[in-house]
Symmetry: C2
Amino acid sequence: MTGLAKTMNAMGAAAKEAARAMGAATASAKNAALENAAKNIDARRSDILRVNRDEVENAKAADKTGAFVDRMALDDARIDGVCKALRDIVKLDDPIGKPLRNWTQPNGLSFERIAVPIGVVAVIYESRPNVTVDAAAIALKAGNAVILRGGSECIGTNSALHACLRDGCVAAGLPETAAQFVVTTDRAAVGALLGGLNGAVDLVIPRGGKSLVARVQSDARAPVLSHLDGVCHVYVDREANPEKAVAIAVNSKMRRTGICGAAETLLIDKAAIDRLWPPIANALKESGCELRVDDHIRAIDSDAKAASEEDFYTEYLDAVISVAAVDGAAGAAAHIAKYGSGHTDAIVTENDETARAFIAAVDSAIVLHNASTQFADGGEFGLGAEIGIATGRLHARGPVGVEELTTYKNVVRGAGQIRP
Amino acid sequence: MTGLAKTMNAMGAAAKEAARAMGAATASAKNAALENAAKNIDARRSDILRVNRDEVENAKAADKTGAFVDRMALDDARIDGVCKALRDIVKLDDPIGKPLRNWTQPNGLSFERIAVPIGVVAVIYESRPNVTVDAAAIALKAGNAVILRGGSECIGTNSALHACLRDGCVAAGLPETAAQFVVTTDRAAVGALLGGLNGAVDLVIPRGGKSLVARVQSDARAPVLSHLDGVCHVYVDREANPEKAVAIAVNSKMRRTGICGAAETLLIDKAAIDRLWPPIANALKESGCELRVDDHIRAIDSDAKAASEEDFYTEYLDAVISVAAVDGAAGAAAHIAKYGSGHTDAIVTENDETARAFIAAVDSAIVLHNASTQFADGGEFGLGAEIGIATGRLHARGPVGVEELTTYKNVVRGAGQIRP
C-alpha cells in the first residue's frame, strides 16, 4: 500500500470513529460547532483573504479563465455570505432522532423509524471555497462526519476555512476529525476517496463540472448523490396564460443561464403555436437569448435558426434555448422522456387537469406547474441550504439538504415477545 | 457486442419502456395482474409441479445437497403458499401517488413529495422458485418493471411461474415486459444485469447466499439493496427479567438457525453474569445449541468451549452461538460496533433508560428491546411481504417491502411565480 493510501485509509478510519460520536452529539453541540466556525472565519478573515489573494494571483498567472478565477475569489462580502450560511444552518431543526413513522402489530410489538445520520460523507468539489464550509456544515448538522477534497488551486484558502470548522468542532466538544480536509494535491487522493477508504465512506457527493461528476458516478464504490446534466424543459400548453408563459420562459432561461435549473428547451403546444410563439420568441430575443427551433416552428418563423437533433440533448448553460413544437402535454412528456435528464421540468397551463397529467407523466426529480425552473434550489424549497441536486432514483431526489443527509433505523419495542 | 449483450440490452430497454406504463398503471390494474397470476399458477399447477419434479431429479442426480434440493422443490402446499403470498400483496395499500409530505413557501409556491416507482428492478437469486413470484409481485405492486434471474437448476420451474405472471399482466392490460425472466443459463447474463443494461437498471436486489451477494455488491453499477451478513446480537443486561432473557436468547438463536435474523452472539452484562449465565446456558444447551464462550465466562464455567476471536465475526447459520461478557449496555454497543454487521441487535432489560442508551448507541438497521431478533422480517413488521433485508445506509434499511421499492418526486405548484 502506498503512503498516500495509508494516509487516506487512516482518514477514513478517523472519520468512521468521529461519525459514531457525531451520531450521538446533541443539537446544541452541533450548533455550537457551526457558530464557533462562523466566529473563527470572521476573526481570521484577513488571513483567509490574504491566502486567497495569493491563490487568485497564481490562478491568473496560470491563465485560468475569468469565470474560474471569479469562482475561487473571496472578498469581504463573500466571507460574510459564508458566515451567514453557517448561521442559517444553525437555525434549522435538528433532524436526528426524529421519529419518522411508528406503528404497532397485533402481537404488541411497537415499531418506530428514527432518523439517524448516514455516517461518513465524502465531498469532492472544485474551486469554490464556500463549498468547503457549506457542505461540511450541512453534513455536520445532520450528524455526519465529512471528508472534504477541493480543487488544488484553492488548497490554501480551503485549508484555512477547514481549520475554522475543525477548531469550531473541538471547542464544542466534538471530534477533531468530524470534518477533515484532504491537503495533498495528489490526484490519487480522489481515487482513494472514490474507492471508499476501506469501506469507511458511506456516501460521495461531487460538486463541480460535468467531468468531475461523471468520474465520480463511474468510479465511486459508495453510493453517490449527484446530477450529471440539467436539461430542463418549459412546456407551454394551449391553455397557458400568455403573460405567465412569457415570464416563466424568460425567467427559466435567462435569470441565470449557468445554473443546473436553467431551462435549456422550450416546448410549445402545436395546437396554439401561432398564438403563443410570437410573444415568447420576442421576449426571449429581447432578453438576449439565441433561439434554435425545430422544423415545425421554422414553418411559421422562417428567420429562426434551425435546431439539430443534438441541440435537444444539450445543456447550454448559456443564453441559448432549443425549441420544439409538441402534441399537447403528452407530447411534451414524451419529448422530456427522450431528451431530458430527469432534473427539473415545468408546465405552464391554466388547466389543472392538463397539469395533473403532465406531472404524472414526467418522471423528473422536480416537476413544476406555473413556476420557473430556476426554483430548483434547496434554498427556494425552504430546505435552508443544499449540498447539491440529486437526479438518481434512490434515497433523495431533487435538492439535498440536511434531512436528505440522514437515513433511519428501525426500533422495535416489546415486552418479551418471541417469534412463534 | 455479443449476441447475449444485445439480448440483455434489449431486455433492459423493454423494461424501461414497461416501467413508464407501470408508473402510470392504476392500483386495480396492478392488483388484477397479481390476482390473474395467482389464478394462472393454480390452474397450471400440475404442469409446474411436473417441470419442478424433473428439475429436482436432475439436481439430485447432480449430487446437490439435501438443503439445496429442499429449497428448489415445490409441492401443493408450497404452490398454495405462493398463491396466498400474491393475494396478500394484492391486499396491501397501493403506495404510488401517495403524498409523503407537503409544505408551502412565503412566495406562495406549494411543494409536495409524491411517491413514485423506482423504475427497473433487477432481482438476482438462486434456487427458490417462490422468489420468482414474491419478488416480482412486490416490485410490480410498487409500479416497477422487474427483470428476474434465478438459478440455472430451476430455470424450467421459474419460467413456468414467470409465464403466469407475464400472462397475468397482459390480461390486466399491463405490458408483457413488466416482468421479464432471463432464460439463458449463460452466467454472462448476470454480468450484463450488474452492468446495468446500458443504464436501464435502477436497482439490483440479490437474494441468496453470501457469494452471490458479495459479487452483486462488488460488481453492480446500479444501486443495490442487500445484506451480506447477519451477525445479530442479543445483549442481556443486569436488569433483564431472567425469564424473558432465557426465552429471547433461545428463540433468537434456535427458532430457525438458518435465517439472517438468527442471533449469532450472546452478550451478557458482567455485572450480573453469575446470576444470568446458568439459566441461559442451560436453556440453550437443552435446545441443542453449542456454546463458544470468552475467557470471562470460562472463568465461571470451565466446561464451556472457548470462542476464538474469529467466532465473534462468524454468522454460523447453525445451532452454535458465541458468548461474550461485556461492561453493560455501552460495552455491548462497543462489541456490536466492532463485530456486528449492522443487521439486527436486541437488548433485554427492564430499565427503559438503559434500553434507550443501547438503542441510541447501536447503529443497526433493526434494534429491538425485549423481543427476539427473529422478528427481523418484513411480514413480522407488517409490511405484508419483503423482498429482502437491507443493511446499506441509503434509501431503505431493514426489511424491504412494497413501499421501500418506491422513491419520490418533488411537485411544485405556483401561480406564475418567477425567481427574483
